[in-house]
Subunit: 429 residues, 2 copies
C-alpha cells in the first residue's frame, strides 16, 4: 500500500508509534558501524591454507625464477595464466599489479596524467588549456570519484539505469566534447546498486565514437566472480571492442581483494596491445617487480578457475544469509511501499536503498544520533552531492549478524519516520 | 708502477701477451652475466624462517587489527616502530610502503608532479612555463635518472667527491635557479661508488638556501645497514634539517629489499610533519592499505633493531669473500697503476672501477664479445652518457663465486688491453 491511500491522521499515529520505538534506542548505548564493505571474519577464515602453500623449498616459479629475488616485472606467467583462463583474456594483454586494483587504477590514471595516452598530450598539459571532464555513472564508487576530483576533472553525473549507464547520454556527450577523457564503470554487480550492464550497453561503450582520441573506459570488474544468487557474467568488453579497433580504450581491472585477503591480494590490468606495451614501458620507472612471492602464493592456493569458482560459492554461502536478512528486515519493517525501495542484487557486496526523496541525510543522522553508523551520506555521488538525497549504500558483508540485525531494524524505523514526516510536510498540514 | 715509466716497446709486448690471453676466452663459449646487483641464493636462504612466522592463528596486529582485512593505511604501528628504532626517526614522521622503495620514490615524485608540494604549483604545471632541472650526483643510480629523464627534467651532473656531491657546485646552483627542483642522493654506501657522505655535506644539504621553495632532496638510504668492513652511519639529515626548518625538504627512503626478499619487502618514506601530512592525505586516493600481512611478517621475523644488525652481519659474512675476491683479482691483474683504479667500499652492493679515460665502453664490449656481460655501459650517468667514458659498476653480490672469478679475470685482461692500446695511441706511435 502506498501513502497516498493513507490519511494524514493515520500517518501521524504511525509517526507517534515509530518515534516511541526510535526513542527506545537512545537508552541502548549502541556503538555500531555497518558502513564498511569489508569481508567478514568467516570469509577470511576460508583462506587459512594460504599461509601454508609457500615455504623455503617451494618458492620457485614454473620458469625457474626464484620468487624471493628481483625480476619478472609484469607478473609470473602461471599467475597471469590463471587469471587469463578465469576471465577469458589473452595472457599477453594482462599486466599484474600488487596489493589492490585501486592502486593499479591510480597508477594508470597518473600515467595518462603525466605521460599522456599513446602519443596524445598528457592530461596535465591538456588541463592547462581546457578544464577536463569525466563521466560518473551514479550512484557509484567514492574511491573512483575521489581521484578524478583530486586531479581537477569536472565530474558529470550519468544516471545508472537497469541496463548500466544511460548510453544515450554517454554517446551524445563523448561524441561532441573532446575534453571528456573517460568514464568510471563497475560493470558487474556495480558498487553500490548491483547492476549488471546489459550486452547492448557494453557493445555501445565499445563502439561509440569519441571526440577525444584519448578517451578511456576504466572498467573496474571488481565483482567479476562475486555471485550470490544468480551467476551473471557481463559481456566481454575487450572482445566487443576488437571489431571496432577500440581495445586500447578499455582498461580492465580485476583483483583478488574480496577473494583472498584485501590489501594483500594480486590484481591485474588488461587492455589492448598498444596500451599494454605502453604500460610495460612506463612500469620500468616504478618497480623491478611486484611481490612475486604473493603471486606464487595465490597460484598455489587458488590453483584453477574451477577452484576459484568453488571458493566463491563458499563465500556466497557465508554472505547470502546476510543479504537475506537485510532484505527481510527491509520488507517486514516498511510501513508503506513508497517510503523506501531497494533492489536485492544477484551478486557483489552491497544493497542500495532509495529513501523517500530528500530523506537520506536525515535518516543517516538519526541512526548516528543513537550510535549506529549505517552509511556515509551521499558517498556514492561525485562531490558527495546526491541531488535527490535518496541513495543509501548498505554493506551487509562485515558486521556480526546480530549487529547487522539491530542496525537494520533501527534503520527501517528511521527511514519510515523521515519519509512520513516529509510526506506530512508535503501535504502542507 | 705507472705506464709513464714504461717504454712503448714494453707496452706492445704486454699487449701481445694480453691479447693472447683474451683470445683464449673466445673458445670457452662463456655465457655469463655479472651485471645485476641482486642478492645471491645464500643470502636469500638466511630468511627461510620468514615463511613460517605467520599463520591463520597468528595474523593479528598489536592493536587488534586483523591483518587479513582492509585498513591501517599508513602501516602497522609495530612495523613503523621497528624501523623508527632502527633508523632513529620518530614514528610519526614515517609512512610505510609496499614492495620496494623505488615504488615509493616514484609515487612521491608523481605527487609533486600532479599535485605540487605543500601548496606550490604542480611540477607538471611549472614545466609548461620553464624547463625544470634536477641535480644528479655522478656516478649514480640509473633508476633515479630514468625517472627524471622520463618526466622531462634536464639533469645536471654533480661530481660525487669522497665527501659526497660537490657542495660548492650544488649550493651555487640551487641558490640562483628556481627551476632546479631537487637532487638524487644515495648518502651511505652510494650506488655505485660506496661513498658515505661526510657530516659537512649532510649539514650543507640541510642548511643551503634554495631559490625553489619546492626543492626536494630524495634521500635514498637503501644501504643504511649494509655494512661490509666498517660500520659507517651517515649523519641524520632529518635531525640536521630541524634547526633550519627544512625537514620537509627531505624525503628519506629505506627498504628491506636487500635485507629480506627484494620486491616482496617493506619500505618507508620519512619526512617533515607537513610533508607526511600531505602524503597521508594523497595516499587515500591510491590505497586502502599496503600489504599488512607482509608488514606483520617482517616484524615477526626481524623482531628488533639488534636482530636486524645481527642479520646484516650474517649477510656481510656471505658478501665479504666476494668483495675480497674482486679486490684481489683487480689488484693482482693490474699491470700498471694507472690502467685502472677502484675503491674497495666499506659497505653497500657495488665496486666501481675507473678505467683508463675513454676506455669503459670498449672494455665492456670486449667482455661481451666473448660472452660475459660485466656491466651496462654508462648506466651510472644521466642519459647513459659518461663524459669521461671511465666508470664501470661491478656487482659482486649475485653470481656464483666461480663465475664471478672467471668474469673478473677476463675483465682485468680487457681493462689492461684497452688502457695500453689507448696509451700507445696517445703516444702517437
Amino acid at each position: 500500500m502506498k501513502t497516498k491511500q493513507i490519511s494524514t491522521l493515520q500517518l501521524k499515529q504511525d509517526l507517534k508509534y515509530l518515534k516511541k520505538q526510535y526513542e527506545e534506542y537512545r537508552g541502548k548505548g549502541l556503538n555500531l558501524n555497518i558502513s564498511r564493505g569489508l569481508p567478514c571474519k568467516e570469509q577470511l577464515d576460508l583462506n587459512a591454507e594460504m599461509f601454508h602453500v609457500l615455504d623455503e623449498n617451494n618458492c620457485i616459479a614454473e620458469d625457474g625464477t626464484d620468487c624471493r629475488n628481483y625480476g619478472v616485472m609484469y607478473g609470473l606467467s602461471e599467475c597471469i595464466r590463471l587469471f587469463s583462463e578465469l576471465l577469458d583474456i589473452p595472457s599477453e594483454n594482462i599486466v599484474l599489479g600488487g596489493e589492490s586494483c585501486l592502486n593499479l587504477m591510480y597508477d594508470q590514471f597518473m600515467r595518462y596524467y603525466a605521460f599522456g595516452a599513446l602519443g596524445e598530450k598528457p592530461w596535465s598539459m591538456q588541463a592547462m588549456e581546457h578544464e577536463l571532464k569525466w563521466l560518473c555513472p551514479v550512484p557509484g564508487y567514492d574511491c573512483h570519484f575521489n581521484l578524478t576530483e583530486a586531479l581537477g576533472f569536472r565530474m558529470i553525473n550519468i544516471p545508472l539505469l537497469e541496463t548500466g549507464p544511460d548510453m544515450d547520454m554517454v554517446e551524445k556527450l563523448v561524441a561532441q566534447d573532446p575534453t571528456i577523457k573517460g568514464i568510471w564503470c563497475v560493470p558487474q554487480y556495480s558498487n553500490p546498486t548491483g547492476t549488471v550492464y546489459s550486452d547492448e550497453t557494453v557493445e555501445r561503450l565499445a563502439k561509440m565514437k569519441t571526440a577525444a582520441p584519448d578517451f578511456r573506459i576504466f572498467w573496474d570488474n571488481a565483482y567479476a566472480v562475486h555471485h550470490l544468487y544468480k551467476e551473471h557474467i557481463v559481456k566481454d568488453i575487450l572482445k566487443a571492442a576488437e571489431p571496432y579497433g577500440t581495445t586500447d580504450r578499455i582498461l580492465y581491472f580485476f583483483s583478488t581483494a574480496k577473494i583472498t585477503f584485501p590489501g594483500s591480494g594480486v590484481c591485474l590490468m588488461a587492455s589492448g596491445d598498444k596500451t599494454i606495451e605502453e604500460t610495460k614501458r612506463l612500469l620500468k620507472l616504478q618497480i623491478f617487480s611486484h611481490d612475486k612471492l604473493n603471486q606464487l602464493r595465490h597460484v598455489k592456493y587458488l590453483k584453477t578457475p574451477e577452484n576459484i569458482m568453488n571458493h566463491m560459492k563458499d563465500i556466497a554461502a557465508i554472505l547470502r544469509p546476510r543479504f537475506d536478512m537485510v532484505d527481510e528486515i527491509l520488507t517486514q519493517n516498511r510501513l508503506y511501499e513508497d517510503v523506501y525501495t531497494w533492489i536485492k542484487p544477484d551478486g557483489g557486496y552491497f544493497i542500495t536503498v532509495d529513501s523517500y526523496g530528500g530523506c537520506a541525510k536525515k535518516i543517516l543522522k538519526m541512526t548516528e544520533d543513537v550510535g549506529v553508523k549505517v552509511a556515509i551520506p551521499a558517498s556514492t555521488y561525485p562531490y558527495h552531492y546526491d541531488p535527490e538525497d535518496t541513495t543509501i549504500r548498505l554493506a551487509p558483508t562485515y558486521p556480526p549478524m546480530e549487529e547487522l540485525k539491530e542496525a537494520m531494524k533501527l534503520f527501517c524505523i528511521c527511514a519510515n519516520i523521515a519519509a512520513i514526516e516529509k510526506i506530512i510536510e508535503e501535504r502542507g498540514i
